[in-house]
Amino acid sequence: MWHSEFAYDPAADGMDQFGPIVGLSLTVSLSAALVAAVLGLGLAALLALTRFPGRRVLVVAVNALLGLPPVVVGLLLYLLLSHGGPLGGLGLLFTPGAMVAAQAILATPIVAALAHRVLEADWVEYGRALQASGASRWQALWPLLGMGRRALATAVLAGFGRTVSEVGAVLVVGGNIAGHTRTMTTAIALETSKGNLALALALGMVLIGISVAVSATVLVLGGQPERKRI
């Protein structure tokens, strides 16, 4: 038992995969967070700055989707992307692209809901002044984004926090293929199932480190008063 833990062959135990796994995890999750940032901020601006029928329903829907169960998102996306499914022709199943899509779906409501609160408050407070100075609704968006930049960055980071630690969806649509779609979370699940607790723990430490760093950044950004300028 002990000797097998210490007479360690890194290749046999998968330690050689450590770097690529961390790299793929970060690229997939950062890409997903970027997609979620664009979609989420756009949706938040739409909800905060405009009035249209069904807007309130959409606000409720976005907030209700904050707790989307990842494994269900994975399953639905799997059915869509499967060869038999409506989007099967894209050939995205079991690729990093499918994983980015799954994580972006999970993170977009988070970015949208958090950013909506920020933009709406600023719009209520400064919207009239901005419009009085001759700006249209959409021209007013830029100063609003600038004013709320810290809080908005926090929203995007919260989205990233969700994507990087998620396992259920990427496992289903990615397939945990070594060297192609194996992320930190799916590798931890796999290595644990192989009884290879050393590598699972090492990856776990990296993941916890990233998660703590993201949370700390969110706290620091959120804790500082916004310098509001028009």
Binding site: F94, P96, S193, G195, L197
Partner: protein, 272 residues
């Protein structure tokens, strides 16, 4: 904010690069396999040999036999490598597979805690061991995931004329072989495992081999090619090349050469 945007854009660029590189590379096939051939390290050992010989890259989806066959039936894999004769026969009867060939065998064994509450250690009769476990109400971990190992376990209980489902000592964990071994190690329970996963498993704790050598515990691994009429999307030629390689001289030699802790995990036995 500017820095954040720049960082995210950079990350997106980095993300796009490997994705593009992967899709531009030579031919790849998706192999839906049972977990044991992957978790035991066999595929990691033999696939580079195949890729070197043919230039074809094999992406492995390690799933239980039931899930692997379901994935292939949906057209989401190019070829399957599994170990449940009954489920395979159904898969072929349903028109999904055309050619099934045995590539290797090893055996299943019953492992349990050293304390051996059901007094089964040293036995060679799997059915008798299950009867003893049932009588002693000894903790037993079941895969419960429709894998090949799970299917065999259910057949053995049937052969014993017993139905343990619902008993509080019978833990249906709904997980892979490794998860079942972790659970058995943690709960000091008995479980049925394939030898490949068992030898390569690194968290045995108090578990030891207790019953083996029963002809009922033979474990055969089959490669099945898919019906190109039913599944026109699959990479038929490359998948056929892989199957031929597995049953051919080179593949069989690569399988036989894989040893761990001085033991052969899979005995090649393809008929030429």
């Amino acid at each position: 904010m500017k820095h954040l945007v720049a960082a995210l854009l950079l990350a997106a660029g980095l993300a796009a690069a490997p994705v593009a590189a992967t899709s531009a590379r030579a031919e790849t096939i998706v192999l839906a396999s049972t977990t044991s051939v992957d978790n035991s390290g066999l595929l990691k050992h033999i696939l580079p040999v195949f890729t070197k010989a043919t230039g074809i890259e094999v992406k492995v989806l390690a799933q239980g036999t039931g899930q692997a066959l379901a994935t292939a039936a949906r057209g989401d894999a190019d070829i399957v490598l599994v170990h449940d004769p009954e489920a395979e026969a159904k898969f072929i009867a349903a028109g999904h597979g055309i050619l099934r060939r045995e590539i290797a065998w090893n055996d299943f064994l019953i492992v349990g805690p050293k304390a051996d509450p059901a007094h089964i250690a040293g036995g060679k009769d799997a059915v008798a061991a299950l009867k003893a476990i049932y009588a002693a109400k000894a903790a037993f971990v079941s895969r419960g995931d429709a894998s090949g190992t799970d299917a065999l376990e259910k057949r053995l209980w049937k052969a014993a004329g017993l139905n343990p489902a619902g008993q509080d000592w019978y833990k249906d964990i709904g997980g892979g072989m490794g998860a079942a071994l972790n659970a058995a190690a943690g709960m000091e329970a008995v479980t049925l495992t394939d030898r490949g996963t068992w030898i390569s498993f690194r968290n045995k704790r108090d578990l030891v081999e207790q019953v083996s050598g029963d002809p009922k515990l033979i474990n055969r691994y089959d490669v099945i090619q898919l019906d190109p009429v039913r599944h026109p999307n699959i990479k038929r030629a490359a998948a056929a090349k892989f199957a031929e390689w597995l049953v051919g001289k080179e593949g069989q030699a690569a399988i036989g050469a894989y040893r761990l802790d001085g033991e052969t995990l899979f005995h090649p036995d393809a008929k030429p």
